[in-house]
């Protein structure tokens, strides 16, 4: 699942990952992501940070606090790429990785494949 409030990013990331052979669902806010998780269990969530409403950090915390969803790997995909932002992602929000934007297409696919392989969601 790709979560971002910018339609262009959702389209771009979604297209790159579909071309790489992945099924992609999208959400345009933290609230929509949490809503979708009530019925769908994606293998990976790529989560933007700066979104109106619940931001990416808070969304990640809610997911990681939920026993039913906490094993879904999350990678932040964000322009907030300072060391303190990364630490907040990894330590406070307990996400699985932090990808700094901009990221090139090939590297994004590589990272997604690595996350899917190395941090599989518990079924």
């Amino acid at each position: 699942m790709v979560v971002d409030d910018e339609e262009d990013i959702l389209y771009l990331v979604g297209t790159i990952l579909r071309k790489a052979g992945h099924e992609v669902i999208t959400a345009s806010s933290g609230e929509e992501c949490l809503d979708i998780l009530k019925t769908e269990k994606p293998d990976l969530i790529l989560l933007d940070v700066m979104m109106p409403g619940i931001d990416g950090f808070e969304t990640a915390k809610v997911i990681k606090a939920d026993e039913e969803n906490r094993s879904i790997p999350i990678a932040m995909l964000t322009v907030k790429s300072g060391d303190k932002d990364k630490l907040r992602s990894l330590e406070e929000c307990r996400v699985d990785w932090h990808i700094s934007k901009p990221v090139d297409r090939e590297k994004l696919v590589e990272m997604v494949n690595w996350l899917l392989k190395s941090r599989p969601r518990k079924l």
Binding site: D83, K84, K86, L87, L90, E91, D96, W97, H98, S100, M111, W114, K117, S118
Partner: protein, 238 residues
């Protein structure tokens, strides 16, 4: 000209920083640099064990508690080609030590040696900070897992706050199928990965037999990686 002090830091115990520090010290000595290693990990001293030095010799603990001079705690290890300031493993030796004396101790060593390697306590304790403040530059040692990388990132943030230069990171115990790849670690930490060391049979043997990998298995892949890292360190610390 004064030498340079290099701390080996990791956010968590068990990354293998002492072993890497010891082997790189030997590597730099083999490159002709006068090298001393200081075991400043006062609560988890391990250099005696790594270098096979008697446990009853005067240690850094004795210097820090005013019981011995710098010369009395510095030992020449001919076979390894380095000098060593070991640490004590005795609990009672922690009593009365003044860790803030470390800075002047290291400053004194820098007058005599080209390279002063400091094996500092893992984590972010006061002792870690004091050890870092005695260093000119820092090398981060991580294992390729999320806990190690995130704690190394925390160490990096603290280190940068102290205006210390980070030479780079060394990835230890690399080569597993599910490891975080080195380029991703480089992205996350924002520092160069100087090299990765895989844990082959030679590494396991040197750890369990108490031998220095560089001397015990000079042709092993891990030794080659260590020598490449040593060459980068010499280039990067100039």
């Amino acid at each position: 000209m004064a030498g340079i002090s290099v701390s080996y830091a990791s956010g968590r115990d068990g990354a293998g920083k002492s072993t890497i520090c010891a082997n790189l010290g030997v590597a730099l000595s083999q490159m002709g640099l006068k090298t001393v290693i200081v075991d400043a990990d006062v609560e988890g001293a391990s250099m005696n064990l790594i270098f096979g030095l008697d446990f009853d010799v005067p240690t850094i603990h004795d210097y820090l508690s005013g019981k011995a001079s710098a010369d009395e705690v510095t030992f020449n290890l001919k076979s390894a080609g380095i000098d060593l300031v070991a640490g004590s493993i005795k609990v009672e030796s922690l009593k009365d030590i003044k860790f803030d004396l470390l800075k002047e101790f290291i400053a004194g060593l820098k007058e005599k040696y080209d390279i002063v390697f400091i094996d500092i306590p893992a984590g972010l304790s006061v002792d870690t900070m004091t050890s870092l403040s005695a260093s000119d530059v820092v090398v981060l040692v991580v294992t390729p897992d999320i806990l190690s990388v995130s704690s190394a990132l925390k160490t990096k943030v603290i280190t940068k706050g102290m205006d210390l230069k980070i030479l780079g990171a060394i990835v230890n115990r690399a080569g597993g199928e599910y490891d975080i790849p080195a380029p991703y670690i480089e992205d996350m930490l924002g520092v160069e990965v100087l090299g990765s060391i895989s844990e082959g049979e030679e590494v396991k043997r040197s750890l369990s037999t108490g031998k220095i990998l560089l001397l015990d298995s000079p042709d092993s892949p891990a030794t080659k990686s260590l020598k490449q890292i040593a060459a980068k360190l010499v280039g990067g610390s100039k």
